[in-house]
């Protein structure tokens, strides 16, 4: 039997133009029909989650992920369709719900544990463990309002993991806290998984989704775009199938990659002009979002207004902070171009993008052998890299541990 069955699920929000908040306003406005905008948050969602399965839910902000999770948790109700939950559900939507700043740590643990559905006897039995795991034994009788936010989160988390869930709903829990805390979260998640707990995991951290989820659901503006093997769905998300990108979105993405006419970022005598620069993913589609460690091709379209001898094509890569991370050109790579004329393009092929994650800016330039710029586009292009590994930092250095 499936743990969760979602069938023809629709969720529509009504956003009234003027909110009637009182009896008086409602009576006064009784004759005038209320005007409101509708917002279709979820549009015909269908899926099942098997027992013991880990399902990831990914999508941009506003794609309906959290709404879907809240409907599964019974916090919001569907407009149409049904969600059947056949097991006990434990939501980790937010940690520390119901914390009372005026109560002590141990009192709060007791209350929070009760909210999370842990029995009274169990709490007393586990109270010391909870405080120890949070590293807060000394503050057992300190009022919560004197705790730092980090301490509160630790307390909430170590309480929450005492639950014995059958279905676990996780929403961006991993996004809070420092590296150490995130590691703890992941360990716990792994442990639950090994115990056969059904997990629904919503995250922007594609790396984490890739590691934990058997299957993944991709949402785009409330529409179910893809459901299937995690690797395939993440590729679909990152590289965007044709169906996924509505015109609006692709315009925005195009705007990122196309040059903006800003003279201060562009100079040169224009004997050769850079017409366009495109990034191609492993499927040969143009885009601006890539998985780390995937191949990528940078194509520079040029137009030479007259025959130019011995031009040099170059690129430079910058972080969002403007640090120069990498630069190369055709001369450095020993590619001699005798001459070019008319329009054409040149490719820079990258077999493995060793950048881990972030947004990056690219300078593309054509200059003469003696460094006289023909056309210089300074940081006019950008692309995003989605994480696939858990290494820290900006880029990967190929390495191995040996003992």
């Amino acid at each position: 039997m499936a743990a969760i069955e979602v069938e023809n699920l629709y969720k529509m929000f009504r956003i009234p133009h003027e909110k009637r908040n009182t009896v008086f306003e409602s009576l006064a406005g009784a004759l005038k029909p209320p005007q409101y905008e509708t917002f279709q948050a979820l549009n015909n969602i269908n899926f099942e989650v098997d027992e013991g399965e880990a399902l990831g839910i990914i999508g941009e902000n506003g794609s309906g992920k959290s709404t879907l999770l809240k409907i599964m948790a019974n916090i919001l109700r569907p407009t149409k369709g049904s969600v059947k939950v056949n097991k006990r559900i434990t939501p980790f939507l937010e940690l520390g719900v119901g914390f009372q700043p005026n109560f002590t740590a141990s009192e709060n643990v007791r209350t929070y544990a009760t909210i999370m559905g842990i029995s009274k006897r169990e709490i007393e039995y586990k109270l010391d463990d909870v405080l120890e795991f949070a590293g807060l034994e000394k503050f057992r009788d300190t009022k919560l309002k004197n705790f730092s936010s980090g301490m509160q989160v630790r307390l909430a988390f170590s309480t929450a993991i005492q639950t014995d869930p059958e279905i676990l709903l996780m929403d961006e829990v991993l996004a809070v806290g420092d590296m150490e805390f995130q590691q703890k979260c992941l360990d716990v998640l792994n442990q639950y998984r090994n115990e056969g707990v059904t997990i629904i995991f919503v995250s922007h951290d594609l790396g984490a989704v890739r590691r934990f989820c058997d299957r993944t659901l991709l949402l785009h503006k409330g529409v179910q775009v893809a459901l299937g093997d995690t690797g395939d769905v993440i590729d679909r998300y990152v590289y965007g199938g044709n169906e996924t990108s509505t015109p609006e979105v692709s315009e925005v993405e195009q705007a990122d990659t196309k040059e903006v006419e800003e003279p201060k970022n562009r100079w040169g005598d224009k004997q050769i002009e850079i017409v366009n620069v495109e990034f191609y993913d492993k499927f040969g589609n143009s885009g601006s979002r890539f998985n780390s460690f995937d191949p990528i091709t940078i194509r520079i379209f040029y137009q030479a207004h007259k025959k130019v001898m011995d031009p040099v094509f170059g690129i430079a890569l910058y972080s969002e902070k403007g640090e120069n991370l990498f630069g190369t050109n055709t001369e450095l790579k020993n590619l001699t171009i005798d001459s070019i004329e008319g329009s054409g393009h040149i490719d820079l092929e990258i077999d493995r993008l060793t950048i881990l994650t972030g947004r990056f800016f690219l300078t593309v330039a054509i200059h003469s052998h003696d460094h006289k710029p023909y056309d210089w586009h300074d940081k006019l292009y950008s692309f995003d890299v989605m994480p696939t590994s858990r290494d820290a930092g900006i880029f990967e250095i190929p390495c191995n541990w040996k003992l």
């Binding site: 908040n21 009182t22 009896v23 916090i75 939507l93 009760t114 909210i115």
Partner: protein, 259 residues
């Protein structure tokens, strides 16, 4: 449906108790006199009302202090449980928006908090009873029954108010006015005997009137409760509970969106 819901509520009994007790403690945590405020408040009110009605208005009632105190404590319970209960949902936006358990738990625990406060207050009442040497009679067995009727009556009203308050924020002001009027329309300060016959019938349509009068009869005046009163109280508490629950469950699905 309702039966299943009751089982669910039973499974959440720990939480209901935690919320009720937590709220009770919180109400007195930061005051110097702590729990004694709870006793001081009705005593102050009693002193003022007793002075006014006994000396200035010359009300002649046997054990008038106890008569008044009983009325005040019971009325206070209704007033508190509805006023705390009314904010049980709107006062906890993050609990409503971020986690789910049956939401009437919040209202139920508000009413239990109010009950704890009232039980605590009634300690004063029984001390007074001992001071005035009022004999306790066997008829006090009716008292718990009357209290149960009162509790479910208050719970029903609190459920309706808590749900309506999510959608209409002026419900609290309307309710305030109703409670003010109700205080004088209910025989708290006076006996029903001073009213003309026709008025008495109307006054007794108010379930609070029957509750207060029966509670006084059985506890202070050692007379058994009238079965007509018991029946009326039972019917009205069931009616308000069903009405309140119906309004609550009708509006409950939209709580997380509206709040």
């Amino acid at each position: 449906m309702i039966f299943k819901h009751l089982i669910e509520l039973y499974n959440y009994r720990d939480l209901i108790w935690k919320l009720s007790w937590g709220e009770f403690k919180l109400r007195y945590k930061n005051s110097i006199l702590g729990y004694f405020w709870s006793l001081l408040e009705p005593l102050l009110m009693l002193t003022v009302l007793y002075f006014v009605f006994s000396n200035l208005m010359r009300v002649q009632v046997e054990y008038y202090q106890l008569f008044l105190l009983m009325g005040i404590i019971l009325w206070n319970f209704l007033s508190r449980s509805t006023n705390i209960g009314m904010f049980a949902i709107v006062g906890r936006p993050d609990m409503i928006k971020k986690i789910y358990f049956p939401r009437d738990i919040f209202v139920i625990s508000s009413c239990i908090t109010a009950l704890l406060m009232s039980l605590f207050e009634s300690v004063v009442f029984f001390i007074f009873m001992a001071v005035f040497r009022v004999p306790l009679s066997f008829n006090i067995v009716y008292a718990p029954l009357i209290l149960i009727f009162l509790f479910f009556l208050a719970l029903g009203i609190a459920m309706a108010l808590s749900a309506l308050n999510v959608y209409y924020r002026d419900v609290q002001f309307i309710w305030d006015v109703l409670m003010q009027a109700g205080f004088f329309a209910t025989p708290i300060l006076y006996t029903v005997d001073i009213l003309p016959e026709a008025f008495r019938k109307i006054v007794f349509l108010n379930p609070m009137a029957r509750i207060i009068v029966s509670a006084r009869d059985t506890i202070i005046y050692s007379t058994p409760a009238r079965s007509e009163d018991l029946l009326f109280m039972f019917a009205s508490s069931v009616f308000f509970l069903i009405l309140g629950y119906a309004i609550f469950s009708r509006l409950e699905p939209g709580f997380a969106e509206e709040i």
